[in-house]
Amino acid sequence: MKTIYMDYSATTPMKPEVIEVMTDAFKHHYGNASSIHHIGQEAKVLLQQAREQVAQLIGAEAREIFFTAGGTESDNWAIQIALETKPGKHIITTNVEHHAVLHPLEALEKKGYRVTYLPVDEYGMVTPEQVEEAIEEDTILISVMYINNEIGSINPVEQIAEVAAKHGILFHTDGVQALGNTPIDMSTNKISMMSMSSHKIYGPKGVGALYIRKGVRTVPLIHGGAQERKVRAGTENIPGILGFAKAAELAGASLDQHIEKLSRLRDKLRDGIMNNISDAKYNGHPVLRHPGNVNICFKYIEGESLLLLLDMKGICASSGSACTSGSLDPSHVLMNIGLTHEIAHGSLRLTLGDFTTEQDVDTVIEEIKPIVERLREMSPLTE
């Protein structure tokens, strides 16, 4: 049975070019970039090149890129920077953020900070006006995700960054799903900080970066040695960072084609499912959307059952149902865009990527209908 991987927003397979660069690094570039000798210095040069490659993908300067262990660390660090460099106790975010933003903020609420969780519209988006209205005298940070990981909607982060800049407030965006999936140009926007992850763009896991605009005061989250200009301690993960950089380079070189191809496949998959199966709801914005994200709720059935049956056909997908989220409720994103429990439990996320083929899309369209029908036949909700 052929595996059809449609869970690219969870993680991506690595590109062969990335593996090649990393294998070479493991074999030959084992030096500690802080060492004086030539092996260390070689690593240092490669590290700098990697920084430039990642910077290039988002129109940033190399010195604005700080490597971390991934998106979650970057999100936590961005929040920490606001806490320690700005006086004030108020933070603005949305109610559909990733847990890597929501949970640190919830922890801060217990320490006396106030957090405004902006309600989103039916597509999971907020407006710059909403953000501006929520600003208080002691607001120290606005954090709004670039692209939602579940339903793929793209927030107007550049306009929100303008609002934040106008009020002199730091603006952070979780850009994990956006990187390599939408054009980002830090030279023309006012985003203060952006979290990035390597394994969502065909790079290795365990490495990411935080973009910190020059001029933004920085404090460490992880204290120790003098790496990353003294603000992110720990010996640099050279193979990981080089792999991330290679992935960024590849993403930058084919961004337009990537977006065009994926958007076409995405819409084909959406139409193939929506035209074939009744009582289904397409979630997320129709146009302002991650190029590879399809999110559909099927009434009367439950997401985990759907995933198990799809998996039996080799199709890898995900869901926001309670059973798959490991909690009592369906995902906060689906609930906060206004879905009922009944509908949210039947959610299916299919996320496409660079290795997805036309044939894969055709196969999924074909396989999914009998599976949904089978579960509906078993369901007591379908009279």
Binding site: G303, S321, C323, L328, P330, H341, E342, M378, S379, P380
Partner: protein, 148 residues
């Protein structure tokens, strides 16, 4: 995440369907938590043997598997025997479920009780095991979170 037996009952569920003019029908669970189980019974009035049982379930893999195995365990048993079956028996028959899925086996036990209660009420029968039973109680006492 599930063992082979659970997967077998999920992939090939036994006794799926409805019974027209069922002698007893019980439904438990709620949409909020994402699982609803409905069981239909045909019961021989003289021997009290459950000779036909069907289920319909909205829920995850373990909810379907728990329903399926519970129907197998109960079919051919007397009502009194069926009422002795607990969620632990369902779990044992399935060879275990992940901790956060234990409530699915509870649901199966409750669905059986609800269906028998319906039968008993309609047919004026009394069973010792149902003495303290109230259909309101069977609404799914999840142990993995707060209710609203």
């Amino acid at each position: 995440m599930y063992n082979q037996k659970v997967m077998d009952h999920f992939m090939n569920p036994r006794n799926v369907g409805e019974i027209e003019n069922a002698d007893g029908m019980g439904e438990v669970g709620n949409l909020r938590c994402g699982d609803i189980m409905r069981i239909y019974l045909k019961i021989d009035p003289t021997s009290d043997v459950i000779n036909e049982i069907k289920f319909k379930t909205f829920g995850c893999g373990s909810a379907v598997a728990s329903s399926s195995i519970a129907t197998e365990m109960i079919k051919g048993k007397t009502v009194e025997e069926a009422l002795q079956i607990t969620n632990k028996d369902v779990l044992r028959e399935l060879g275990g479920l992940p901790t956060i899925k234990i409530h699915c086996s509870v649901l199966a036990e409750q669905a059986v009780k609800a269906a028998v209660y319906d039968y008993a009420t309609k047919h004026g029968k009394h069973y010792a095991a149902l003495e303290n039973y109230s259909p309101e109680d069977d609404d799914h006492d999840h142990d993995h979170g707060e209710e609203d």
